[in-house]
């Protein structure tokens, strides 16, 4: 009982998940429950031989044991999770409450169990991917706090900026070279801000300053090798060499189906795709910008039509920035604490902090559990090795982490269970209490893909299907205002055992008192 009181207090302070792990689903709590069952059994055995007069007594105590057994069945053989339905999207994956680490390298995917814990837990698990990437899982932090770490590293720098105008304000950090959690470029509304190595910055500066006179249209940059190449066009194939002897090849190709011209780039057996009219960064297979790539292909015409800010740190440790559009470009040195007035919508740019010869990285330390489950961060640290190189990587449940030395990607998510059928949200309906904004009811119309029938799920009216029961749990709205429905999914083989026990219990209690007060004579 004291344990339960502690549990409710812990819940009000740290949230339901914490209380569950520390109290209700802990081994010692199970032990207490088993002792209760044992004492119930013994209390009945102690009254052997059985007498008819005690029928109520037996019923009550038996029913308690039955209810406990039912609860145990549910715990070990039941499934309790949630399913998130988005408009016109088929899903069949149910998230359970356990966390797993999902890792992917090339085409190989893997899922690792994470121990249930409320404090730091060390894990010692090693896994080798086919592509030679070795992952050693080290430590899991269930309630983590983000912490900014700095490391001395030559030729690396990072800066913390503030951009603001009268009705907007945002801070961001940029790093060169980019690392996990720190990009070298950021988009702030219509503005694109990019931090570049000095040679690259100067190359752009010289070109943009005299853009009208020069026949140069494109600039290719390899930030790793400190190499840049000016190009007049991309219609022809280009082959050039960097001072250290690497060969680069650029050829324009056209995808006839969609009618997009793109540039295929290859260097040291590595191929990447650029669409210079679209972005200076290469594009990966999923048509997303590969911002971690060291290569850039700038279309100077495009720079003229968009709003760009370039930043760099010179050898003399001054910070320079260049900004502008069309032919109006301005390149200047940044003086301490001065706010630069940008030519767009009254935006101002202020440098808050600069780290020189430093690499930034996020690491995680143990934090306080928050009552609101969504505000907690889960983090897991692993050492990733590929060939000679090795790095420490943090995986979280917040966003995907990409390794810098291999193709490894990963994040923490909930354990999934797959239903034998697909479901799709056809319509989400919410009635409001007249004259107010409070929901009176919310209902989901869900299409079951295998039979094609449409089920109507709402509060107090669950859907039963294939041993699973689906309940309307909640809903949320995304940025676009579309409603997503959250159903809780449940399979409970212990249900009838518990109901049976409950009925027994009430009957037993009534019988006990009836016999006790002589309303029912038993001989």
């Amino acid at each position: 009982m004291c344990a339960m009181i502690y549990g409710t207090l812990a819940e009000s302070r740290y949230g339901a998940m914490y209380a569950n792990l520390v109290v209700y689903h802990s081994n010692w709590f199970y032990l207490i429950e088993s002792l209760i069952v044992l004492s119930l059994l013994l209390s009945m055995l102690a009254r052997f031989p059985w007498r008819k007069r005690l029928i109520g007594f037996y019923l009550v105590h038996c029913s308690l044991i039955i209810i406990m057994l039912g609860a145990m069945t549910t715990r070990y053989f039941g499934i309790d999770g949630t399913i998130e339905l988005s408009p016109s999207e088929s899903v069949n994956s149910v998230s359970l409450s356990e966390d797993v680490l999902y890792l992917k390298s090339e085409a190989e995917e893997n899922v690792f169990d994470i121990p249930l814990s409320v404090s730091d837990a060390s894990i010692n698990k090693t896994f080798n991917f086919f592509d030679g990437t070795k992952v050693e899982l080290k430590k899991f932090i269930p309630y983590a706090k983000k912490e900014l770490n700095t490391m001395n590293k030559k030729d690396s720098w990072a800066s913390h900026w503030l951009i603001k105008n009268d009705n907007f304000q945002n801070e961001f950090k940029l790093a060169h070279p980019p690392s996990v959690g720190f990009l070298s470029r950021i988009e702030q509304g219509p503005l694109k801000i990019e931090i570049l190595p000095e040679f690259c910055f100067t190359a752009l500066e010289s070109l943009l300053d005299s853009l009208r006179q020069l026949p140069i249209r494109y600039l290719f940059i390899d930030t790793e090798k400190h190499f840049s190449q000016k190009l007049t066009d991309i219609e022809h194939a280009h082959l050039f060499k960097s001072p250290d002897g690497s060969t680069y090849k650029l050829t324009q190709e056209e995808n006839k189906k969609v009618g997009i011209k793109f540039v295929r780039f290859s260097a040291q057996k590595k191929t990447q795709i650029f669409i210079p009219r679209f972005a200076s960064e290469p594009i990966d297979r999923h048509l997303e910008l590969d911002v971690a790539s060291p290569y850039r292909l700038y279309d100077l015409e495009k720079l003229k039509s968009t709003n760009n800010i370039f930043l760099t740190q010179t050898k003399a440790d001054t910070i320079r920035l260049g900004y502008g559009k069309s032919n109006q470009w301005k390149f200047e040195a940044y003086n301490n604490n001065q706010a630069i007035l940008l030519p767009w919508m009254g935006f101002q740019l202020v440098l808050l902090k600069h780290w020189k010869d430093t690499a930034l990285r996020w690491s995680y330390v143990e934090g306080e559990p928050n009552k609101e489950e969504s505000k907690n961060i889960k983090a897991l640290v692993a050492v990733v090795t590929k060939g000679e190189k090795s790095e420490e990587l943090w995986f979280t449940d917040q966003n995907q982490t990409q390794s810098q030395i291999s193709n490894l990607q990963g994040f923490i998510r909930k354990q999934l269970v797959f239903l034998p059928f697909q479901m799709e949200l056809v319509q989400f309906k919410m009635d409001k209490i007249p004259g107010t904004d409070k929901p009176a009811s919310f209902e989901s119309f869900v299409k079951l893909k295998d039979t094609g029938e449409t089920a109507h799920i709402y509060m107090n009216n669950p859907l039963k299907r294939g041993g699973y029961t689906f309940y309307q749990a909640s809903y949320f709205q995304d940025e676009k205002g579309a409603y997503h429905s959250v159903l809780s999914v449940n399979r409970d083989p212990g249900r009838f055992i518990k109901y049976f026990g409950s009925a027994f219990l009430v009957i037993g209690m009534i019988l006990t008192f009836l016999i006790l007060y002589g309303y029912w004579k038993v001989t």
Partner: protein, 513 residues
């Protein structure tokens, strides 16, 4: 009589034509039962206006106007009509010290004028958001600020004519300020567009609000308590206590039936109603047992319990909200709501009764000179306590299990260690332990009485404490504020009574040896 006099005085007063027109309209008593849409329900204007008056005007002010008239004047932009009288000004309650400072009030000023709020509205809003960002939206200050701001906004929307929703055709409610003319006629004729059940509910609610059955219940219960205590000494008072008993029974059934009909659901959807229902059950059980055993003392205990509950409902308005409000989605299932919550509050009523009797016994014990003699006469009372606890336990167990089945049915789990669930289980275990202790003879005589009194503390925690102190979990639809202090006082008082009784009991035992 006073009202009519005022009305005619106002009509005869030398005021302009338009003001006269509004005065006539707003002071018309027929206006009170006009339907209005408020908080998602169709209610008589009288109900809504009364609530607004309580919220925006201090209780002492403006007694010359009825709530309906005040609301009507404000909505029609006839402020000068009210504010002519200096003492009749809107004032909002400010309880928290920091809120007083923010508004520039002195420490002893518990009320603020509207001008001060409109002047420092932004400061209040910023402070509130700062608290919310820190996750302190449930703190005393944040609650106070939110209350002040929402009352202020309510007043503004009333003055703009946005608050008063008029029924212009079936199910079509339009705000007052959308009309240019003929507003008064539209208001008075809006009754016709109600459907039959709405019309019936409107009439019933008007009766409910006008008769105030629960206020009468407090008086009758007090009288009944007095008569039954007197009849212990003077048998001739016994019939009077029986009369009070029947009267109280009739008036409470009347009130509960009205409320249930109007709200269309069991009488247990918020704290106010659970207190009402438990108070009634305490009275009902004590009447049954008291009449069966012809014991006026038991009747007295029932009357006392009933009076306490209904007294709280009448005066602890900060903690118990008497308004009938639409239900949150999960509670919209009449069958489960009626069975699960009703049976749990039924058990609370039984335990409440046992608590009152146990404490009366303890206080008696403390002040009796011959302790050992008193302990001998306890047995009959302890039997009563045991019966009350037994009935309560059966209902609590049934209620907890029904709750499990309902949760399974609508959330998909039988038991989720939600604080409300856990605490009701804790209190069930406490009472089951008390009963077991009694059977095997651990708790005898005055010890049993003391344990019974203490047991109710767990019920209080499950009933109020989870909502006022823990304030978390799935059952959050029932949460309200401001009761933590009340609970702390009861806990302390109970502990001191128990402490004293315990010491005296030790002395008795040692002197007997």
């Amino acid at each position: 009589m006073k009202k009519i006099f005022l009305l005619s005085a106002l009509l005869c007063a030398n005021i302009g034509f338009t003001e006269d027109r509004f005065a006539q309209f707003c002071l018309n008593p027929g206006l009170e039962s006009v339907p209005i849409l408020a908080d998602g329900r169709v209610v008589p204007l009288f109900t809504h206006a009364n609530r607004i008056k309580k919220q925006i005007f201090s209780s002492k002010n403006c007694s010359q106007f009825s709530a309906t008239a005040l609301y009507c004047f404000l909505s029609f932009g006839q402020k000068q009509e009210i504010f002519k009288n200096k003492s009749c000004q809107p004032v909002l309650k400010v309880n928290h010290q920091e809120a007083q400072t923010l508004l520039g009030l002195n420490a002893d000023e518990k009320e603020t004028s509207i001008e001060k709020i409109s002047f420092s509205q932004n400061i209040l809003i910023n402070r509130y958001h700062a608290l919310k960002d820190k996750g302190l939206e449930n703190s005393g200050l944040a609650n106070d600020l939110a209350g002040i701001l929402s009352s202020y906004e309510k007043l503004i929307s009333i003055e703009k004519g946005e608050d008063w929703k008029i029924l212009v055709s079936e199910n079509n409610w339009v705000a007052l300020n959308t009309f240019k003319d003929q507003t008064e006629e539209k208001i008075l004729s809006s009754n016709h567009y109600l459907n039959v059940s709405e019309k019936r509910n409107l009439t019933l609610e008007t009766i409910y609000e006008k008769t105030q059955p629960f206020s009468w219940a407090v008086l009758i219960a007090l009288a009944g308590f007095l008569f039954s205590v007197l009849s212990v000494y003077q048998r001739k008072f016994y019939p009077y206590s029986l009369i009070s008993l029947s009267l109280l029974f009739v008036i409470e059934i009347f009130g509960i039936v009205l409320r249930v009909t109007v709200s269309g659901r069991g009488p247990v959807t918020n704290m106010y109603e659970t207190v009402m229902w438990s108070g009634f059950i305490a009275f009902f059980i004590s009447s049954l047992l008291g009449l069966k055993w012809k014991n006026a003392k038991i009747l007295a205990a029932g009357f006392a319990g009933n009076a306490i509950c209904f007294f709280m409902m009448k005066f602890a308005t900060g903690m118990l909200d008497s308004t009938i409000q639409p239900l949150v989605p999960v509670l919209r299932d009449n069958f489960w709501l009626s069975t699960h919550v009703t049976s749990i509050t039924f058990s609370y009523g039984c335990f409440f009764l046992s608590w009152i009797v146990a404490n009366a016994l303890l206080i008696n014990f403390i002040f009796k000179n011959k302790k050992s003699h008193f302990v001998h006469s306890l047995n009959e009372w302890n039997r009563f306590l045991r019966v009350a606890i037994q009935i309560g336990s059966v209902f609590l167990a049934a209620g907890v299990l029904l709750g499990g089945i309902w949760a399974d049915y609508s959330w998909g789990r039988f038991w989720g260690w939600d604080p409300k669930e856990t605490w009701s289980l804790i209190s069930l275990i406490v009472y089951v332990m008390i009963l077991h202790g009694r059977y095997v003879g651990w708790f005898k005589d005055i010890v049993f009485t003391m344990i019974t009194a203490f047991g109710f503390m767990f019920i209080l925690m499950a009933w109020f404490g989870v909502n006022y102190i823990l304030a978390t979990g799935l059952h959050s639809y029932g949460f309200s504020s401001g009761g933590a202090l009340f609970l702390a006082i009861i806990f302390l008082a109970q502990l001191s009574v128990l402490g004293v009784a315990c010491i005296l009991n030790m002395k008795t035992i040692s002197s007997a040896r």
